[in-house]
């Protein structure tokens, strides 16, 4: 943990005042570091290789299938983490360490003063807090003093751990918009840089698997029975995974001045509410269309400039059909020409981490010119008739990439990234 000097920042009384308008004169935001932990292993490279090679890291597992006799495919992170660290925090810390190293901060120590964080999550550290409830119930009310409350945090616990580890003194925020949390967090962090609140922001998402989540999706009958098959006619649900992804975002000029590696640029982002149903997406894809439109508008880009789409692609009947409808509405006849992929069959649906992991995937696609495949795709669905890059990776020149996410509550988010 970095220690601050005893005097507060000179900027506190307002030496730096910024204005959010006009929107088009904004500062540019680039990605200078990335870190990931997934079922494919620790590190962005393992995640990327698994995606490109079409190698699923999902394994049948009964660990969290309380009351359900089925062996469900799950994307559990197998690497060991400190036992005394709340699991979501441990995953996020690991991903963040990699991102910080990659951004070149390691040589000079901690990130610069005033760096901030936006972390997306569905549950954050809430599972640990629920464990406290169990503890209290076991011991009974009179023994409350013997059951130390896990402290502030809950949802915000992983963000607070990251802030403490890296000595962050800028805006530190937790965003929870269900499965679009990671995308929304990257968007919010980019906004903070554009508004001048900070020159450096960490952003990403995290969620750890638990019986709480697995049983919930089981109750909703949303889980795949054997394998995840996004956009395939036989798709029957999603597989849950866990993981974390952190990107380091910087104001472009500042990043260039310090010689930071520039991996991608955040060109635009948008969020929109479906206004349709708590768990089911709007069949006409209107919310996704609005989110993408907002992202493209912020970037000042036309729909024709999208070269690749990392779809939410959960493998549920409703989601995949809805996304296909949305892409057709937005891109018209060109929709069939845009390579679209889903990484959910590789690492599972990592909930709050998903959007951030897919932002990292987009950055790698932009850098490598390779689009990972959507695996387990064998039987085309007449209602999902776009190019999902079935089963084998493809070399494609990609200059602009779009990532979309949707979540419970009708939250949709889109990120539009460009090559550096």
């Amino acid at each position: 943990m970095r220690h601050e000097p005893s005097t507060p920042e000179p900027s506190i009384p307002g030496a730096r005042a910024t204005s959010p308008e006009p929107p088009r004169a904004r500062r540019r935001v680039v990605v200078t570091g990335m870190g990931a932990v997934t079922a494919a292993g620790r590190g962005v490279e393992r995640f990327w290789r698994a995606c490109v090679e079409g190698r699923s890291a999902l394994r049948p597992d009964a660990r969290f299938s309380a009351g359900d006799p089925r062996l469900l495919p799950l994307g559990l992170v197998g690497d060991p983490f400190p036992a005394d660290e709340e699991r979501a925090s441990a995953l996020a810390l690991d991903a963040c360490d990699e991102a910080v190293r990659g951004a070149g901060f390691a040589a000079g120590g901690a990130p610069p003063r005033g760096a901030g964080l936006v972390l997306g999550t569905c549950l954050g550290g809430a599972i640990a807090t629920l464990g406290w409830i169990d503890d209290v119930e076991r011991r009974g009310a009179p023994a409350l003093r013997d059951c130390p409350f896990p402290g502030p945090g809950g949802l915000a616990a992983p963000a607070l751990r990251l802030a403490a580890r890296h000595g962050l003194t800028g805006p530190v925020s937790t965003m929870s918009t269900a499965c679009s949390s990671g995308t929304g967090a990257v968007a919010a962090a980019a906004d903070a840089i554009r508004r001048g609140e900070s020159d450096v922001m960490f952003a990403g998402g995290v969620d750890a698997l638990s019986a709480f989540v697995v049983s919930g999706f089981g109750l909703l009958r949303a889980l795949a029975s054997t394998e995840v098959r996004p956009f395939d006619r036989r798709r029957d649900g999603l597989a849950l995974g866990e993981g974390a992804a952190i990107v380091v975002l910087e104001e472009a000029g500042s990043a260039r001045r310090r010689g930071a590696p520039i991996l991608a640029e955040i060109l635009g982002a948008g969020t929109a509410l479906d206004a349709h149903h708590m768990t089911g997406p709007s069949p006409d894809g209107a919310g996704v269309v609005r989110a993408i439109t907002a992202a493209l508008s912020e970037a000042g880009a036309a729909a024709e400039s999208v070269d690749f789409i990392s779809a939410h692609g959960t493998g549920t009947s409703f989601n995949d059909r809805m996304e296909t409808v949305a892409f057709k509405r937005l891109f018209g006849g060109r929709a069939a020409l845009i390579p679209i992929d889903s990484v959910k069959p590789i690492i599972g649906h990592t909930l709050g981490a998903a959007g951030a992991l897919e932002a990292i995937l987009c950055a790698r696609v932009l850098a490598e010119g390779i689009v990972p495949p959507t695996i387990n795709y064998r039987e085309p669905d007449p209602e999902c008739d776009l190019d999902y890059v079935p089963n084998e990776a493809r070399r494609v020149v990609v200059r602009r990439a779009l990532s979309t996410s949707s979540g419970f509550g009708g939250h949709n988010a889109a990120l539009f990234l460009g090559a550096p």
Binding site: I12, V136, P152, A159, L168, R195, G216, M278
Partner: protein, 383 residues
């Protein structure tokens, strides 16, 4: 901390509030003023009505909120009820012509229809759906897990309130739920202001909701200062405060102050406040300050475009901090909101903004939110 300032022509307006706290419905009870009491920046601060050991709960009198309880209301947990009711209060306070379509959509399940992309829902909550989380956790343990309720699981997403409001009111603009502790409500207001200033929406429902649930309240009511009391040093309260924020672009309502459903009081300063026009957010700043180095004096020196006449501290502060704050702010009064409502968490700052709307005269109001885990957020408000 860097401040984000809005130009004179871009400062977003607060055009209506819906406030539910243990003190009552609306901002009047927050001001702690009876019909004849003085309210306003020059009003005496305290002694406040003691909150005492009674449960810090909101009594939602549905008939007072709506003629016919919306169907959606029956599906909600406490967190959803409070958020929905507060938002509805805010919308009802808007003039009919400026109100999003309400009753038609919410008295039945909305069928196919077009959502208004110009209105967003940005909220903050520290504990969010904690009570539903506990319920699902208990239901889904052990061999009976397959008998648990899927409806409960649906309520375990923190952004459920945003979803409810979006669906019922057909709001299709930007949406987010901030869960950054007690400063999350301030963050929602900041995000809304930026969304409006950048033209990404023309209006936003923004604010905070807290529904601590029985477990945390039991913990707290036990006076267990060694554990829960370490973190929640005030009386943990439930409540919601949601504002309708609109872009700075002028409308017919430009000359009206924000309203809530509490009958307007005709005391001098409040009357002046109503004549002074709507409250606007002129600037904001936020930071992570776990060692509490940022003092109120530093915030008061911030480059707000207007002088502050009142400071509202939205969250529970140690008495030493408050004493220092009062010295720093003098002769301006410092109002400590938790003394009147209990600790409202992320709903504290939005409630404080609503109170500021009722109290502020020509001078500005600084609303300060602070989370004991490190978050600090300041909103510079003025007419």
């Amino acid at each position: 901390m860097r401040w984000v300032r809005f130009g004179r022509d871009a400062a977003p307006r607060f055009t209506a509030f819906g406030v539910l706290t243990p003190a009552g419905v609306g901002t009047g009870p927050l001001a702690g003023a009876g019909p004849s009491a003085r309210i306003g920046p020059d009003a005496p601060i305290g002694p406040r009505a003691p909150v005492g050991p009674r449960p810090a709960e909101v009594t939602i009198a549905l008939p007072a909120l709506c003629d016919e309880p919306p169907i959606r209301f029956r599906r909600l947990d406490r967190y959803g009820e409070l958020g929905y009711a507060a938002a509805r209060l805010a919308l009802r306070a808007l003039p009919a012509g400026g109100r999003p379509p309400l009753e038609a959509a919410e008295t039945a399940d909305p069928g196919p229809g077009v959502a208004d992309p110009g209105i967003g829902v940005l909220l903050g909550s520290s504990l969010a759906c904690w009570a539903s989380n506990v319920r699902h956790h208990r239901e889904s343990r052990g061999p009976a897990a397959t008998q648990a309720s899927p409806a409960t699981f649906v309520r375990t997403v923190a952004n459920a309130v945003n979803g409810d409001l979006s669906i019922a009111l057909r709001l299709g603009g930007p949406g987010a739920l901030f869960a950054s502790g007690w400063t999350a409500g301030s963050e929602a207001i900041m995000a809304a202001a930026s969304v409006l200033a950048e033209g990404r929406a023309r209006a936003v429902l923004a604010g905070g909701v807290e529904a601590p649930g029985p477990d945390l309240r039991v913990m707290h009511a036990g006076g267990d200062t060694q554990t829960a009391g370490r973190w929640f040093s005030g009386l943990l309260a439930e409540g919601a405060a949601i504002a309708m924020m609109e872009s700075a672009a002028g409308t017919a309502r430009d000359t009206e102050p924000a309203r809530d459903t509490e009958p307007a009081r005709d005391a001098g300063p409040a009357r002046d406040a109503r004549r002074a026009g709507p409250l606007r957010l002129h600037a904001y700043g936020r930071a992570h300050d776990p060692e509490q180095r940022i003092s109120l004096a530093m915030l008061l020196d911030a480059p707000a475009p207007i002088p502050f006449g009142l400071v509202v501290v939205a969250n529970t502060m140690p008495s030493e901090f408050l004493e220092r704050a009062r010295v720093a702010a003098a002769p301006r009064p410092v109002l400590h909101l938790p003394d009147r409502t209990g600790e409202l968490g992320a709903a504290g700052a939005p409630a404080a903004v609503a109170l500021a709307s009722a109290l502020a005269g020509a001078e500005g109001v600084l609303v300060v939110a602070r989370d004991l885990a490190g978050g600090v957020a300041a909103l510079a408000l003025g007419r």
